[in-house]
C-alpha cells in the first residue's frame, strides 16, 4: 500500500471526505483511474494505492516531479451534517482511503470517532490510524480482532464504510443506514459515459461518479453490484 502525493491546490482546498479524483498519465493507460482522496492540505492531495493492474503499476513507477492530470474533486462524499454524537469509520483493505478525511471532517463536526480497519492479514493493514478509539481486525487473526471489520465494529450513531463490495454488502445487513462508498469500474468520472452503474433497490441504475460513490447502504441492490472487479487490464 503506497501513498502518492500531488500538488493540487484547488482540489486540496475544496475536497470533502469520500470524494475522489480521476487521475490520467501520458504515457499511461487510455482511461483515467479513480482514487479517493486520502489526505488533503497545504496545496497537496494524497491518494492511496497498490498495484492491482497495469494502470496502478504505471502510477507507482512515477518519480518526483512527474506530471499527472488530476480531475476533481468528483462525486458526492460522506454526509456528516446529520445529527450524531458518535461515528464508526469502517474500512477494509484499500477502503481505508477516504477515512482520514472522514475522521478530519467528523472531528470538525464534534463527533467521537471510532476507527475500525481490517485486512486479510497483519501485513496488509494500513499502519496509519486516526481515531479516538482504534480497532483493527484481520481475517487470519494475525493482528487485532480475528474476523471481519463489520463484526469487529461497535454500533454508532453514524457508520461510514468503504471496502470491497462484499464487505459493504455485509455492512448493509448490519447497518442499513450506513453511508458506504462503493467500488465500480469507471470511465469518465464526470457523469457522461454511464459506465459506473450502481444498481438501486428502488430499480434502475445511477452513476457512482456523480450520485455516488457514497450511498445509503439500503439504497444499493447488493446482489446486482459486481462483488469482484477484475483488474487484468491493458497496455
Amino acid at each position: 500500500m503506497w501513498v502518492l502525493g500531488f500538488a493540487a491546490p484547488d482540489i486540496a482546498a475544496s475536497v470533502k471526505a469520500g470524494q475522489f479524483v480521476n487521475i490520467g498519465m501520458r504515457p499511461g493507460p487510455l482511461l483515467r483511474r479513480p482514487f479517493s482522496v486520502y489526505r488533503a492540505g497545504d496545496d497537496r492531495i494524497e491518494v492511496l494505492l497498490k498495484a492491482v493492474g497495469v494502470g496502478t503499476a504505471q502510477m507507482l513507477a512515477m518519480r518526483e516531479g512527474d506530471v499527472a492530470s488530476c480531475l476533481g474533486p468528483l462525486g458526492r462524499g460522506f454526509d456528516l451534517t446529520l445529527s450524531a454524537k458518535t461515528v464508526s469509520l469502517v474500512s477494509g483493505g484499500l477502503g481505508v482511503a477516504p477515512m482520514p478525511l472522514a475522521a478530519r471532517d467528523a472531528r470538525a463536526a464534534g463527533l467521537q470517532v471510532t476507527w475500525v480497519h481490517g485486512a486479510r492479514t497483519a501485513d496488509e493493514l494500513c499502519s496509519e490510524t486516526e481515531g479516538d478509539e482504534v480497532i483493527l481486525a484481520t481475517d487470519d487473526g494475525s493482528a487485532g480482532f480475528a474476523g471481519t471489520v463489520v463484526a469487529a465494529a461497535p454500533d454508532a450513531d453514524l457508520v461510514l464504510a468503504c471496502g470491497p463490495n462484499r464487505m459493504l454488502a455485509a455492512a448493509a445487513q448490519r447497518w442499513p443506514q450506513a453511508q458506504v462508498a462503493v467500488e465500480t469500474y469507471m470511465g469518465c468520472g464526470t457523469g457522461v459515459c454511464l459506465g459506473c452503474a450502481v444498481p438501486l433497490t428502488r430499480g434502475g441504475y445511477d452513476r457512482a461518479c456523480t450520485e455516488g460513490p457514497v450511498y445509503v447502504a439500503s439504497d444499493v441492490d447488493w446482489p446486482a453490484l459486481p462483488s469482484h472487479l477484475s483488474y487484468a487490464v491493458s497496455a
Binding site: 487510455l30 492530470s69 480531475l71 470511465g187 457522461v192
Partner: protein
C-alpha cells in the same frame, strides 16, 4: 491569418469540423471544462420513445488502447428529453442532433415525428448500429433493406437533416451506405463501435454482464478511417468520420480520407477538453500548411 474551419454537412452549417459523438457527451450538460467555442455540434446520447434502465454492471472494461462498453442505451425517454434538455439546447450556439433508436422502423418514425419542430432539435442521427441492445440497433444496420426502411420511416416524418450512423459489423459498408442514401439520408456517420469481448480469468466468464460490448478508442481508428473512406467512396452524401480520434492528426486522417467533419467520442472521457484540443490542432495544421479553408485541404477520394 486564422483559417476558416466552417463546413456544411448534410443540411447543417457548422462553425467547425469537430462534433461530439453520441453517448460520449450526454445531453450536453454533463461535460465539465470543455471550451465550447470549438464545439461545432453535438449528437445527443441515444434516446428511445420510453425510458430505459440500461444493462447491468459491469458495463465497461479497458482494453489495449481502447474500451469496451455495454451501456444499453440507458436514457430517460423522449418526453423527458423534450422537457428537460431541448429548452437548454435552444439557447446554445451550436446545433444538436438527437440520436434516435427504436425496436421497429415505425418507432424510429414516431420518435422523429415527436421531435420534429421541437425548438432546440436541429436534426437526427439514426442509430442503426448500437451493438448493446437485444432488439433493433445493429440488426437494422447490417441489413440494407432494414436500414433503408428505418431511414425512410424517419425521412417521411421530418424535414430536418437526417444522418444515419453506420455499424462497422458488415461485410461491405458501401452496400448499407448506398441503401440509406437511396432512402433519403442527408449524411452518414461512420462508424459506431466494433463488437468485442473480454474474459475475466478470475471468474471464467465475460467481464461485461452483456457478454459483449462496443470497442472504441484509438484501437479502432485505422479500421474506422478505412470504413469511413469506403463509405465516402460509395455515396454522394457527406460521411462524418468517427472512431478513435484523440488528437488533431487523427481527425485530419478522416478529413483526408474524404470526410467533411468528424465526431470525437471516447477521447472526451479521458480529456474533457478533447474536442477543443482537436479543433485547435486542425486550425494550427491548416495555418502551418497555408490552407485558408477546409475546401483547400487535399482529399484522397478516388472514384471507382
Amino acid at each position: 491569418m486564422t483559417p476558416d474551419l466552417s463546413v456544411e454537412v448534410g443540411g447543417l452549417k457548422l462553425r467547425g469540423p469537430v462534433l461530439a459523438a453520441s453517448g460520449t457527451f450526454g445531453y450536453g450538460t454533463e461535460v465539465p471544462l470543455l471550451e465550447r467555442r470549438a464545439l461545432a455540434g453535438m449528437v445527443s446520447k441515444g434516446i428511445f420513445l420510453k425510458p430505459r434502465a440500461g444493462t447491468a454492471p459491469s458495463r465497461i472494461v479497458e482494453t489495449p488502447s481502447g474500451m469496451l462498453n455495454a451501456i444499453g442505451l440507458q436514457g430517460p425517454g423522449v418526453d423527458a428529453l423534450i422537457r428537460d434538455y431541448a429548452p437548454k439546447w435552444e439557447a446554445w450556439d451550436f446545433p444538436v442532433l438527437v440520436n434516435i433508436n427504436g425496436e421497429s422502423a415505425s418507432e424510429y418514425g414516431e420518435l422523429a415525428a415527436r421531435l420534429d419542430g421541437v425548438p432546440g432539435v436541429a436534426g437526427f442521427e439514426i442509430n442503426i448500429s448500437c451493438p448493446n441492445v437485444e432488439q433493433g440497433g445493429m440488426y437494422f444496420g447490417n441489413d440494407p433493406r432494414a436500414a433503408a426502411a428505418v431511414t425512410e420511416a424517419v425521412r417521411r416524418r421530418t424535414k430536418l437533416p437526417v444522418w444515419v450512423k453506420l455499424t462497422p459489423m458488415v461485410s461491405d459498408i458501401g452496400v448499407i451506405a448506398r441503401a440509406v442514401e437511396g432512402a433519403g439520408a442527408d449524411a452518414l456517420s461512420a462508424v459506431n463501435t466494433f463488437v468485442g469481448m473480454s474474459m475475466d480469468l478470475h471468474a471464467y466468464q465475460p467481464r461485461l454482464s452483456f457478454r459483449t460490448g462496443g470497442l472504441s478508442g484509438p484501437a479502432i481508428r485505422p479500421l474506422a478511417v478505412h470504413l469511413a473512406h469506403q463509405a465516402a467512396r460509395a455515396v454522394d452524401i457527406p460521411v462524418v468520420g468517427v472512431g478513435g480520434i484523440m488528437r488533431a492528426e487523427d481527425a485530419l486522417e478522416f478529413l483526408v480520407a474524404g470526410c467533411p467533419a468528424v465526431q470525437v467520442g471516447t477521447a472526451t472521457f479521458v480529456n474533457p477538453n478533447a474536442i477543443a484540443d482537436v479543433h485547435d490542432g486542425i486550425a494550427e495544421f491548416m495555418a502551418r500548411k497555408g490552407f485558408a479553408s477546409l475546401d483547400e485541404l487535399p482529399r484522397y477520394l478516388p472514384r471507382d
